[in-house]
């Protein structure tokens, strides 16, 4: 291009593009833009660690400072992916250690991280700043000790719900005395007690600390000492929030909380003694995010607290809040955007609380900005769902879990097709949907037709036939992730819509009716997909071809079949089809 801008100018302009979509679009304009863009992309997001290889990434993007990688499929959270399936971090770290010496950020989700990887991270990246391990596993507190000891410029260490083998709390004491850069620490998933004095000193010497989420082992009496040393905190997670009722503890807490003029987010609250909740009332007017999902407190106490939080935007709570509490929420918190209600006793045969569909309907009516919902309950009706849909057409995420599989509309005993149909019809911006209850193929017809912006769909115990799956795969233009369990979906819809799978990140199907033969065929015909059969009963070719596989995970990839499979995973590809048939 004779008349193009000099590279430096283009690079400068591209620097303003933060979204991957924009950068990807830019890189397709012409070869020189592709080249310029790839040299100046600093942040990479890899939605599926097996869709690409470290080598391919490094070859294209030579100067990266932040990586975000996701590993196992979402249903791994619910133990549907057997241990040993994969998503190992080490190959990525070992490749990046050589090629990205100035890497600053690593954010991971559902990956297997070893102490070895953590040690390599801590020693390879001199300017390492941010480590977020969300739902990861495979490491111990020794690995954390390496990070603490060696990452001189660490700003963020967030262990978000990872499964850490907790050998001791000693890791925290590995932060050197001259280490002062900490901005965010989330250790709420850990069990062991850390040295409290080490924690106090750490908090004291880190003036930029904005987020501190403690673990359950830190008792409530010790909180004031920490809060006093960090009045600049914006996000705070308590430990166990219980102690014998003593006025001195209470007044210390009140005073300490009052000193925190910038607190916006609170969490923790294990083992809550309700009498201590009022200690926080002074900060409640500024609170925008409240995670009470571990707080076993009854509705009246919850309402007391929530009524003090008019600026609440995000609430996570247990179903102890009940319909009455949700009604109060809808009248006090008009700014509410996200609501998650978790079950306190999901395995009990009978409901233990008075939380029904009514609570959600009330919130949908009273909170005009509500856009994200996760709701566990025991009964639902089409009427309620239709009401919610009409009240809140601005919903973006709607995840409903009716605890009993295949529960019908409790009023009419009909399937909940029309209710969910109303959701997708009215909520035109819906990006994520999780279904539950009794559902026929009809609901999928509605979804396929109306859910144009839907990116992620979760289905369980639903549908009648392949038609259901066909509706979804042939509709839903924006679908990226589809996860299905225990549905009578089989070969026809899958094979007929094979091309669709290349436009998606991944498809998970477990306990469905997809036969081994169909999987082989799919793998054979679609070389750019990895078709993984996961079956713990032994090699699929020891059973008839028509036998359904236990689990199927299909994802697009440019890296070919993976080489780190355990012996209960088979990749269907041309070679495999010839070898095994």
């Amino acid at each position: 291009m004779a008349y193009s801008f000099p590279e430096e100018v283009l690079e400068y302009v591209f620097a303003f593009l933060s979204s991957d979509k924009d950068r990807n679009a830019v890189s397709l304009v012409c070869k020189s833009w592709y080249e310029i863009e790839r040299w100046c992309r600093r942040r990479i997001f890899i939605g599926n660690c097996y869709a690409v290889s470290p080598q391919i990434v490094i070859r294209r993007f030579p100067e990266v400072s932040a990586v975000k990688i996701k590993g196992k499929p979402h249903f791994a959270d619910f133990n549907l992916v057997p241990e040993g399936w994969g998503a190992y971090l080490y190959p990525w770290i070992s490749a990046m250690a050589r090629s990205y010496p100035w890497l600053e950020e690593i954010k991971l989700k559902r990956m297997v991280v070893t102490d070895e990887s953590l040690e390599l991270i801590s020693k390879s990246f001199k300017n390492f700043k941010v480590l977020v391990l969300s739902s990861c596993e495979g490491f111990t507190t020794d690995g954390l000790a390496s990070i603490a000891a060696n990452c001189r410029n660490l700003r963020e260490l967030d262990l978000k719900e990872s499964e850490v083998e907790d050998l001791s709390g000693h890791w925290l004491s590995h932060f050197p005395d001259n280490f002062t850069s900490l901005v965010s620490l989330n250790m709420s998933c850990l069990g062991s007690e850390v040295s409290f004095s080490a924690l106090e000193r750490l908090v004291s010497r880190c003036p930029n600390l904005k987020t501190l989420r403690l673990n359950r082992a830190v008792p409530v009496e010790k909180l004031p000492s920490l809060l006093r040393r960090a009045p600049q905190l914006v996000e705070f997670g308590t430990g166990a929030y219980s102690a014998e009722i003593r006025t001195d503890i209470f007044s210390n807490l009140v005073e300490a909380f009052s000193g925190c003029k910038h607190l916006k987010s609170l969490s923790g609250f294990w083992d809550v003694v309700p009498a201590y909740l009022p200690a926080m009332y002074n900060v409640c007017s500024r609170i925008t995010s409240l995670n009470l999902s571990y707080a076993t407190v009854q509705s009246p106490d919850l309402v007391e607290l929530i009524s003090q939080c008019p600026n609440l935007k995000c609430l996570w709570v247990l179903d102890y809040i009940e319909d009455a509490g949700l009604k109060a929420l809808s009248s006090y918190c008009k700014d509410l955007q996200e609501l998650r209600v978790f079950p306190s006793d999901p395995y009990g045969a009978e409901p233990n609380v008075s939380l029904t569909e009514q609570g959600l309907v009330t919130v949908s009516a009273g909170c005009p900005k509500l856009q994200s919902v996760l709701y566990f309950c025991r009964q639902m009706s089409n009427a309620a769902l239709i009401a919610i849909a009409r009240n809140r057409p601005n919903l973006i995420r709607f995840r409903l879990c009716i605890i009993e599989p295949q529960a019908p509309d409790y009023l009419t005993l009909e399937p909940l097709d029309t209710g969910f149909g109303a959701i997708v019809e009215h909520c035109k911006q819906l990006r994520r949907l999780s279904l539950s209850g009794l559902l026929t193929d009809r609901v999928f017809e509605y979804i396929g037709t109306h859910a144009e912006k839907l990116e992620m769909l979760s289905i369980a115990f639903a549908g009648d036939s392949d038609l259901g799956l066909h509706y979804v795969l042939s509709g839903c233009e924006s679908l990226r992730k589809l996860e299905i369990r225990d549905c009578p979906f089989g070969d026809k819809a899958l094979l007929a819509n094979a091309a669709k799978l290349e436009t998606m990140r991944s498809l998970w199907m477990s306990s469905c009716s997809v036969s081994y033969g169909a999987c082989k065929l799919l793998g054979q015909k679609m070389p750019r997909l990895n078709v993984e059969v996961i079956d713990e009963r032994g090699p699929p070719d020891s059973r008839p071809e028509t036998c359904p596989v236990e689990k199927l995970y299909v994802y697009r990839t440019v890296a070919g079949p993976r080489v780190d499979k355990p012996d209960f995973v088979w990749t269907m590809d041309e070679d495999a089809a010839l070898r095994l048939s």
Binding site: D77, L80, P343, F461, D486, K500, R537
Partner: protein, 300 residues
């Protein structure tokens, strides 16, 4: 590929019995929920013609065949037209053939699953599947439901916290259904570990038999194509012999991080205190037994 389906159709009847028997004896690691699906099998295959018409009792209007092909998005008709390459029984590509092929596939699928072929659509009685699960899973106390793996969809961290909360608050007396307690089970020599839910078992015998099934696959020499290089391969002995003989012992790590032999304490006490399990070589486990007994005595 086209031949395999016809041959499987031809030999269906003779295969049927052997397939059924095979299913009875195969090592199924699926948990109660996966059995449930088989009872609904038989509805999953055919989209056209006769099968759709047969399913007339659900009260919903039938989707006319014509609409399905022409009104539906292109892909289906493309699939039919490109019939020679797709599916098991595509002979000529007409809808009728597909319908026929579909029902034939239906039969082979049913024989494979060996379940009743009732077509349950829009079943207004949701209690049925749960009851079936309950009957299969004898170990569940009547008050709590049989637990399907991963349902309701709650993450482990939250589940474990819930279990602790409920036991602390003694919510229901004598209730055993405190959710799931997932523990990791490792076996010396195996390349990866497993996770099991202790609450699905009622006794040491059940646990032991489940572990035998789970880890016996390591003894059948399946490693060859997929195993990691340099890993120890277990001999082809039955794991039962291994466990009951002197080769391997089952041990667990308790709340105090001590390793104990499994079986010394009452079952309930074990499930409350077990953090993880390890199937270790007998030679490594010497000296465990006396300590375990002492500890038990000192605690009681």
């Amino acid at each position: 590929m086209e031949n395999s389906s016809s041959s499987s159709i031809v030999s269906t009847e003779s295969e049927k019995n052997s397939v059924l028997n095979l299913k009875e004896t195969e090592l199924r690691l699926g948990l109660p929920g996966s059995d449930f699906l088989e009872k609904k099998a038989g509805t999953g295959i055919s989209l056209f013609g006769k099968d759709l018409k047969d399913e007339g009792n659900n009260g919903f209007s039938q989707i006319p065949l014509k609409n399905l092909v022409s009104g539906a998005k292109r892909v289906f008709s493309d699939a039919i037209d490109g019939s020679g390459k797709w599916g098991f029984s595509m002979k000529g590509g007409s809808e009728v053939d597909l319908g026929n092929g579909g029902s034939e596939n239906n039969n082979t699928l049913q024989s494979c699953l060996a379940g009743p072929s009732g077509k349950e659509i829009g079943n207004p009685n949701p209690a049925k599947p749960v009851e079936d699960k309950k009957n299969e899973n004898n170990s569940t106390a009547p008050a709590s439901k049989a637990q399907v793996v991963g349902w309701p969809p709650i993450r482990s961290f939250r589940k474990n916290t819930l279990a602790t909360n409920l036991s602390k608050n003694n919510v229901v007396e004598g209730k055993s259904g405190l959710g799931c307690v997932y523990v990791k089970v490792s076996m010396d020599g195996a390349p990866y570990l497993r996770k099991i839910d202790l609450k699905t078992y009622c006794s040491y015998a059940e646990l032991s038999s489940a572990l035998e099934k789970m880890f016996s696959c390591f003894t059948i020499g399946q490693y060859a194509p997929h195993g990691l290089p340099g890993q120890e391969h277990l001999r082809e002995n039955c794991l039962k012999d291994l466990l009951h003989g002197s080769e391997y012992v089952l041990t667990y790590e308790d709340k105090d991080s001590d390793w104990m032999l499994v079986g010394d304490v009452p079952w309930e006490m074990f499930t409350d205190s077990c953090k993880r399990l390890r199937i270790m070589k007998g030679s490594d486990a010497t000296g465990l037994a006396p300590r375990a007994m002492q500890k038990c005595k000192s605690q009681s």
